[in-house]
Point group: C2
Chain length 425, copies 2
């Protein structure tokens, strides 16, 4: 791995910013715009046409039947089912803590103010096909929506020549997905955003996908809500002499194997650890099934930064704003207070990042590409909205009327002032 020392923080931060800047591909944008237009005009027919063209699968009906789902559930290895069910229990118990609460107050006689928390009514979940079909992601998307109270959870996933991923269908059943359709790519996003004969229009679309899916999500944003534009996976590790090089290396590689553009960053004040991790990464890479992918990721975006103090380490990591952050320092828990930007933080030697990917309960759909500066993990809050309300009595209105009319007229909005005065007559 690239070991970088004696570099100024500003230079490092500039490199980090550059790596995380948003890019768009005009060709992809133009093709996605065409696909969306076609789906809006031709509905299901367009979806079936794209299924043949892009996925090589000809379908009579887009909807997956209950029998297909049941059969998949029964065919999946019972150990996998058991693990998925345990994960689902943990995800449920954690996400129940996220449920937003309605509130109401009465600041003065005759005035009632409040906010009602209410679920979205329909949500679409995108699940990629092929090797990126992850049953764990089905749980992470659908369970928070279910806990929020969403009544229509619609899943879409591209048709596959050799049949849909059975574990994905089983996870959908465990998570409580209401309906599944075999449609992928930008066409699936268009169908969810605008509705077709068979696929209902939803209020929000979540889930990761390729460049076409991401571009389509950006395109329909405003028509529906979206979770985020997910970028390549990232891990940042803060470690000192107390960390074990082989664990640190294994965790860096657990993200690197996702994608050639994945980012793996170690920031340490220990020169010994820096060199040991670099060697361990090379050793472990050699015997990894996905060596080719992980090696490219490490070559492209694998960095070990050597700095003098723990404070500098933290400052730099806050600039990275990593999706996943491991703190392998003594008394790791105490550093939470200093973390400003990260998706999910893993504390101590034993909280290896894959625990969060699969089992512990916190969400694994997290802000990438530096967006942890302003974004949160996917959660129940993504599937709830708030409605404000206000009630005034006649006396309460009289007490505030003058102030309202003064401000309305200051802004040149006479009809606003008259609406208040209409009640006084």
């Amino acid at each position: 791995m690239n070991i970088i020392k004696n570099e100024s923080l500003e230079v490092i931060k500039a490199r980090i910013r550059q790596q995380t800047e948003k890019t768009v591909d005009p060709q992809v944008e133009a093709r996605v715009a065409d696909i969306i237009k076609n789906v809006r005009t031709n509905g299901d027919a367009a979806l079936k046409e794209y299924g043949e063209k892009f996925d090589g699968v000809s379908l009579d009906k887009l909807k997956v039947t209950d029998e297909q789902i049941e059969e998949a559930f029964n065919q999946v290895d019972p150990d996998v089912i058991k693990a998925l069910e345990k994960a689902a229990r943990n995800i449920r118990s954690f996400h129940k803590l996220e449920v937003g609460e309605s509130f109401e107050d009465s600041p003065s006689d005759g005035v009632i103010r409040g906010t009602k928390v209410t679920p979205l009514s329909a949500v679409g979940i995108y699940v990629p096909g092929g090797t990126a079909a992850y049953p764990s992601s089905v749980l992470m998307n659908a369970i928070p929506a279910k806990i929020a109270g969403v009544e229509n959870i619609i899943m879409v996933t591209p048709p596959q020549k050799d049949g849909l991923n059975q574990a994905v269908l089983a996870a959908a059943k465990i998570a409580g997905v209401d309906r599944i359709y075999q449609v992928g790519g930008a066409q699936a996003i268009a169908a969810l955003a605008y509705g077709t004969e068979s696929i209902p229009q939803v209020d929000k679309i979540t889930g990761p996908g390729n460049a076409y899916v991401a571009t389509a999500k950006r395109d329909v944003y405003g028509q529906v809500d979206i979770d985020m534009i997910a970028g390549p996976s990232e891990i940042g590790i803060l470690a000192d002499d107390s960390a074990r090089a082989k664990d640190v290396a294994a965790d860096l590689l657990s993200q690197a194997e996702h994608d050639v553009n994945a980012r793996a960053i170690l920031i340490t004040n220990s020169e010994t650890l820096a060199y040991e991790v670099s060697e361990e990464v090379e050793e472990q890479l050699k015997i990894l099934p996905r060596e080719a992918i992980a090696r490219k990721a490490i070559e492209n975006n694998g960095f070990i930064y050597l700095v003098d103090t723990v404070d500098l380490m933290i400052d730099l990591m806050n600039a990275v704003a990593p999706e996943h952050l491991e703190i392998q320092l003594e008394n790791a828990y105490n550093y939470i207070a200093k973390i400003k930007n990260a998706g999910s933080v893993f504390l101590g030697k034993y909280a290896s990042e894959p625990l969060g990917d699969y089992l512990a309960g916190p969400n694994h759909i997290l802000p990438t590409g530096g967006t942890a500066r302003f974004s949160s993990p996917l959660g129940v809050w993504d599937f709830q909205k708030r409605i404000q309300y206000l009630q005034y009595s006649d006396k309460a209105l009289a007490a505030d009327a003058l102030d309202v009319t003064v401000l309305a007229r200051e802004e040149g909005l006479e009809a606003h002032a008259r609406a208040i005065e209409s009640r006084e007559k």
Copy 2:
């Protein structure tokens, strides 16, 4: 106003959907892309160039000085200051109820899971110039950010030939805005998203603006967060025989005067009220200073729907998903439970919508164009994010290790499994 009766719900809903569909202007998009590129390349110089070209104002420094703000505060009518300060108190007391809380649990021995709620570090607020420079909106944007704990609240507003709006500067002082820059349009959005020599990069941009501002916000979304793409203002009123036609008409006009594209919709089961409101609107229009604007809005998007029952009225209004919703029915409070889609609800005869625009405390920056299906009013939640964390002991890891490795291998992610097993060796 157009009175529509005996029309099927499906036809009405289709019309509503059509009215609220997102549209984009490719010419505006291309010009905005150029502006953003220029600002990223040339920084402050580009901003000053656009200030001369678009606003006709030549500036040495973009930053508004403390002396300018103090002077503005002293020159504004004391009644306006008093009303702004009262509004600020109400906005503060309401939005304090919105502060998100961190949580933590320990589902089993050796496992700690939690979520830390933390403020964004820098936020940009856009305030339009000219007649759309609203001091009330400054309060509504900045106070929730302040309560969230944002340390850098940056305001941008276009330079004006005859000087900045004094009440806007006074409101910024009352709300606790940290810095103000004289820059508007797409160039202001670009400056906030990417930073220039004088304007710091922020994490989120909020506030309304024209088509250029809206397009630029959509463009930089992902690089920074944005609040929403605000559309024309809307009011929906549910009223029966108990409502007074002159109040209903005045409230419809209070939104219609904003913009020729504003929407004003009354849904009622009272034919008498429908005709009385229609006549009242015409009478009140004749003597309104902004008659031309309001008349166009009423002609374009003013509708009175006459339906048979209160349940149908509510069903239809949920399809409208209006920004502002007034319920002028007996026992209005009891209907909150049935409202699924609305930004802010006003209950009873006396809660005229302008109370919410100016004084009562709930936010007036609300989802428009049907986006109340999935969006919330601007609130403290917009300026806070969540960071998850997880700690495992060695024994807790041992108890979960097998399930994690089973799932990782099911997904073909061997390095994930090995990261867990690395700890066991």
